[in-house]
């Protein structure tokens, strides 16, 4: 019984997802919401706003500095996770666990 409910739910969700996909704009078409003024602003203002010739660096470290800041903490988290799993530490008395 629960299998039939699950299949019915899956079909419903699938229909909704397919309807949403059919409404998506074509890939690369110029009038999508993603093609807005932001890219133009970056291209025209990167040099005068940041003074950096490399536009990628200007975007990554100046316009989107918050993004890169959190990205560096992702690296830090990766290191902590590896240490948690692999590193054999000592307890407070200095004895190896």
């Amino acid at each position: 019984m629960s299998n039939k409910i699950a299949i019915a739910l899956l079909v419903c969700i699938g229909v909704v997802v397919l309807l949403a996909i059919s409404e998506l704009p074509l890939y690369g078409s110029p009038d999508t919401p993603a093609q807005n003024y932001v890219a133009e602003r970056y291209i025209e203002g990167a040099l005068s706003d940041t003074g950096a010739l490399n536009m990628v660096a200007a975007i990554v470290i100046d316009y989107r500095a918050y993004d890169t800041l959190i990205e560096t903490t992702v690296l830090f988290t990766a290191i902590i996770a590896v240490f948690l799993v692999l590193k054999k530490g000592t307890d407070r008395k200095g004895e190896h666990k």
Partner: protein, 141 residues
């Protein structure tokens, strides 16, 4: 590894690899590359040294303590650079709006805080790669 040719080749090549790594970090705002790619190049040169000459000699060159210090202060350095904007009365991580001199485009000093932030992130990426490598290698033994 005790291969003579390998050791001599690595000793010849690695200084240039490290120089390239720091070049890519310092010219991140001028040419393709930047903190992440330059940091990876620098870190991989240290990993190659450890692979060829052994983990102990690699640890002598850059100690684990130094790596963890760089690792810990890399992101803090980024945050401190962000506070420059706050101290100048604008928002966090502000560059031009905080009155940082941008310099002449094309010169090594240009782009305001970008160079300093790139240096911190590059060192942090290098130490991350090396620390991951050392942690995995120590587990192997």
């Amino acid at each position: 590894m005790t291969d003579f040719v390998l050791k001599r080749m690595v000793a010849l090549v690695l200084p240039f690899v490290q120089m390239l790594g720091f070049y890519v970090i310092f010219h991140g705002h001028l040419s393709p590359g930047g903190s992440f790619s330059g940091g990876i190049i620098t870190g991989l040169s240290l990993i190659a040294f450890s692979l060829v000459f052994g983990l102990e000699r690699g640890q002598e060159k850059v100690s684990e303590r130094m790596m963890s210090l760089v690792e810990s202060f890399g992101a803090l350095w980024y945050g401190a650079m962000g506070l420059v904007g706050v101290l100048r009365g604008t928002t966090f991580l502000m560059n031009k709006g905080a009155g940082v001199p941008l310099g002449e485009p094309g010169k090594l000093y240009s782009g305001g805080l970008i160079l300093l932030i790139t240096l911190g992130v590059g060192l942090k990426v290098a130490s991350t790669v090396v620390t991951l490598f050392v942690a995995l290698m120590e587990e192997e033994e």
